[in-house]
Symmetry: C2
């Protein structure tokens, strides 16, 4: 018996990872290419296909159901990447169509947070769960909402931008042009801004003051792990903002689980313990003590490949070559 | 050819309306009984069935697919009313089961805002729309979210409590025990609190000062209609809070339409014009200028009956007598 397979491709600003997986979550082969090295997206796609084609042929092309791509600002409905600030190619890029033409494989595309969400549903902590939220805590804050067992894409494919709800009225200016967006506080970038601001404003001693380069979220994690009071207070503040926003999101979709994914989720209890406290106190009483907040068990480059390949399993009934020219 | 029919029952704190409708939205017969007059829910159900049974028999019992009930704090999953503060009966009431036993009709129940939402989907402005939000603006603020063509119930049946997201940090105390909930600002009750507070705090002249009884949302509407500056500012303030919360909700579900239903929605442009302004400016740029905010075309007692009966059409494949004892 031969299992069927799916290609998963995770497009990042610097590197692109790819793999060929089965439905049980085993990655049979994997690899990566540079994203940043290609001035034209067509050349990037050609190289990606050149790397993948021999691997696909070796495993058996007839076993491969299709390809899933997770990419920044990816739109599931159109298969396009739409104005992604961190990619070398500008404007609207029909990446699903380009890859489908190059590879001959039916291809679906979505943004990286939605790919991670479907990855949790197919392989991770949300298996068998119909109502849950995934929040990806990286450079920014992304999210995917699942209700009635289906990912919410919204009428335009652009649902799930929890990073841009107003978390602090009159707060920090966001890259999107709005004020006080959640991701300016709760993300690797956001927590580092809090640290820089507080070190400037306050005179409290902190081991963070010994860092001569630009402070990173990892520095704050290390300091907090060692008991640094200011670093712990930064996590507490971050958790207070995040907890309130998550409680408001619960009032909309009432999920069974909230799964945190990505860099800042590695902070574990430093984030989770204060987060659960603020979250519970901000919840409407009917929701208290029944919604789990946990960190993903899928992590690293493999998780992104699994998430992208999970797109294929999630859409298997619709997988067909569809970009006709 | 005989059309099939559904019973719709809208349970309010004072009165309960009922009707028998067809799928085109025609109400063939209707009536009402007092809610408040019955000390025991069993007596209320008996009277409701006594009024309905002869009407059902006259139209043809075999044509009636089932009954839908919209009720405060109704839970679709359990068929129960759960601790509804405005009803004469306390605790957890298995109303769907009681009515099913009394009438012999398969019965589904949900809360009044979710019934209104399904009413919009079957009969109203959301017909054929897969992603939309309904907000009911009455004494409180209720909501229903539809994504992928299905109402979001959440894992526990309790999704859609937009009235209890934190709209104003450190704001007004809500009946639910939380601080700054949306419905303390945006509802018939909320706008009246704003008026009372501002009349006390300020010395601005206003025709609202001539009212000797407790100010109602209708008084504010009348004053604003006549150009009263304070009343207009009250609508502007209400819209500013509502617009920000709606923009945040859009970032989660990206709806095509937002439909306002109930008393305060009758204020029309007095609310809609400032609301659209604040809403658009609070939206993430990718969502701007494409989401409609409009008022329901279904209004009054008929709308509530239609909403409740729409529950039957929405669930027709699952309609069966299910409460076995």
């Amino acid at each position: 018996m031969t299992t069927t397979l799916a290609v998963g491709i995770d497009v990042g600003g610097t590197n692109t990872s790819f793999g060929i997986t089965d439905e049980a979550g085993k990655i049979h082969v994997s690899g990566h290419i540079s994203t940043a090295a290609f001035d034209a997206v067509e050349d990037f796609v050609a190289e990606l296909n050149a790397k993948l084609a021999p691997r696909i042929n070796r495993l058996g092309r007839e076993r491969v159901v299709g390809a899933g791509i997770g990419a920044p600002n990816g739109n599931f409905f159109t298969g396009e990447i739409v104005f992604a600030p961190n990619l070398p190619w500008k404007g609207v890029l029909p990446l699903a169509k380009l890859f489908e033409h190059a590879s001959g494989l039916p291809t679906v595309l979505t943004n990286d947070a939605k790919a991670a969400t479907i990855g949790e549903m197919i392989y991770g902590a949300a298996k068998g769960i119909n109502d849950f939220i995934v929040v990806t805590l990286g450079t920014g804050l992304g999210s995917g909402f699942v209700a009635n067992g289906r990912l919410i894409y919204g009428h335009d494919g652009l649902a799930g931008e929890l990073g841009h709800v107003t978390a602090v009225a009159g707060g920090r200016l966001c890259n999107c042009g709005k004020i006080g967006c959640l991701e300016r506080y709760v993300s690797a970038t956001g927590i580092a801004i809090t640290a820089a601001q507080w070190l400037q404003e306050r005179t409290t001693p902190s081991m963070l003051r010994d860092i001569n380069s630009k402070i990173t979220s990892h520095d704050i994690f290390i300091a907090a792990s060692k008991g640094d009071a200011l670093a712990l207070e930064i996590f507490d503040y971050t958790a207070s903002i995040f907890g309130t926003v998550l409680a408001d999101a619960v009032a909309i979709t009432s999920p069974q689980k909230i799964i945190l994914f990505g860099g800042l989720a590695h902070a574990g209890d430093l984030l989770l313990v204060p987060l659960r406290k603020y979250f519970e106190s901000a919840l409407l009483p009917i929701y208290r003590n029944k919604i789990q907040i946990l960190t993903s068990t899928l992590q690293g480059a493999d998780a992104a490949i699994l998430g992208a390949s999970a797109l294929v399993w999630e859409n298997r009934n619709q997988m067909a070559v569809k970009y006709s020219n």
